[in-house]
């Protein structure tokens, strides 16, 4: 059974015929948006994180038909005119990318977090909690947290509050 799904993906309007059995992850990858990774497939690792109406979700446990009427963002849409987004650039600058498999999902989680907390004082603990749904086996997270801090423009004055 198929359903018609109209949605906006990375700023572009789409009308798609979607199999009701498809996950949003499958749908996006079929469109060539292969930054969306299938890691665990059960909502544990966050490698498939995309933004739906500005909120981070695990696209592996989200039906494609639920995208109808919604605005989806993936890492592909974050760069503009050949330039990386502030979050993407901060990851590069902080050395927050190693093998890279988790990176697109983390970028989207960080993007939602940074957009929601701009201009607010944020502790490292809050950053950690907000990224708890994204697993990274390479970096040990420290560089990722630094990248988020840098985006929020308070890296220098941000003391460590959890002993690291």
């Amino acid at each position: 059974m198929r359903k018609t799904v109209s949605c906006t993906i990375n700023g572009r309007a789409y009308t798609l015929s979607v199999d009701v059995r498809q996950s949003l992850l499958d749908m996006l990858r079929e469109l060539g948006l292969t930054s969306v990774k299938e890691g665990c497939g059960v909502g544990e690792c966050g490698a498939c994180t995309v933004l739906v109406n500005g909120r981070a979700i695990d696209s592996c446990i989200y039906l494609a038909v639920w995208a109808h009427g919604k605005t989806i963002r993936t890492a592909e849409g974050e760069a503009a005119d050949g330039r990386m987004s502030a979050v993407q650039q901060a990851y590069v600058d902080a050395g927050a990318v190693q093998c890279g498999f988790c990176t697109p999902g983390l970028i989207m989680t960080s993007t939602a977090f940074v957009e929601r907390h701009r201009g607010r004082k944020v502790s490292r603990q809050e950053i950690r909690r907000a990224h708890a749904g994204n697993l990274c086996r390479c970096t040990g997270y420290e560089t990722i947290i630094r990248a988020v801090e840098k985006c929020l423009g308070r890296q220098a004055e941000m003391p460590s509050d959890d002993g690291d």
């Binding site: 994180t49 981070a56 979700i57 695990d58 989200y62 749904g133």
Partner: protein
């Protein structure tokens, strides 16, 4: 691809009820964070789905004229955490759902799903039980109200007919006014984990004493349990270490912890006794009490 054999999107609660009644073996999918994982595990009993994910009539959190808090069943954990009414009147509900999974899950998972899937580890259920939440359920005969207390009938089982839909949860003023409450989730990790033991306490003070204690444990029996013995041990007692000891001693009669790979039975009982005292104390302190 998920192995879905039957799929219908309901456009109203009434239609969802009719679809469930007409299609044997069909069940609801709301946020999908449990159902889609079961499907991926190859569970054929989840292959026939009536989708209520898009039903706006099931969302929304608000106050009735008499002060009763109404939480739409399809409210996500994030919406519950962000609700001013929840944070002001029943903050332990926000505290509890904030411990579930991670941010991505909380953006999608629903309170109604957390109740209706009958999980003994459900993070929302203890907070809703100490506030004696009432369930509003729609079936073919119309709507009914039933207490959440007693709704769980076994692991993964609740007293919901297969053609019924949970519409909302209600918390009455008498069940939140004057209470301080707390939740403690004992788990191996601070996020992305399932409770080994969950403890929720609500305390209403009377002068310098505990007027009423409501204590609930999850993962401590085949269903979430209100702890009548422990509650009786606290009623009318002063805010002292002796009272907390009495609560910890009495609670063993209320629970039936089991051995699983997460924890052995005797270790679970140790956690239960420890948390009964600790969380009761925290709830009493949040009610304004001093030990």
């Amino acid at each position: 691809m998920f192995a879905i054999d039957y799929y219908q999107q309901a456009e109203s609660v009434a239609q969802a009820v009719a679809l469930l009644a007409a299609e044997p073996g069909a069940r609801l999918v709301a946020g999908g964070t449990d159902v889609l994982i079961r499907l991926r595990e190859g569970r054929g009993d989840y292959a026939r789905l009536v989708d209520i994910n898009g039903l706006e009539e099931l969302r929304g959190i608000g106050l009735a004229d008499d002060g009763t808090l109404r939480i739409g069943a399809l409210s996500t954990f994030r919406q519950v955490m962000a609700s001013d009414d929840v944070r002001r009147l029943v903050p332990v509900v926000a505290e509890a759902v904030g411990t579930a999974g991670g941010p991505q899950l909380r953006n999608v998972a629903t309170v109604g799903g957390n109740i209706c899937n009958g999980a003994v580890s459900a993070d929302s259920v203890g907070a809703l039980l100490v506030h004696d939440a009432q369930l509003e359920i729609q079936g073919p005969e119309g709507r009914r109200r039933t207490p959440l207390q007693g709704f769980h009938t076994g692991p993964g089982r609740v007293a919901l007919a297969r053609d019924e839909v949970l519409v909302a949860l209600h918390i009455r003023p008498r069940d939140y006014r004057g209470f301080g409450a707390a939740y403690y989730k004992y788990a191996m990790r601070e996020a992305m984990d399932i409770a080994t033991i969950g403890c929720t306490a609500a305390v209403r003070l009377e002068g310098e004493a505990i007027g009423e204690l409501r204590l609930v444990f999850t993962v401590a029996a085949p269903t979430p349990v209100r702890c009548a013995h422990a509650e009786a041990a606290a009623a009318g007692r002063p805010l002292t270490a002796e009272t907390l000891d009495a609560v910890a001693a009495a609670v063993a009669a209320d629970v039936q912890p089991r051995t699983s790979w997460r924890a052995r039975q005797d270790f679970r009982l140790h956690i239960i006794r420890t948390l009964a005292a600790r969380v009761t104390r925290r709830a009493a302190e949040r009610a304004g009490g001093k030990f």
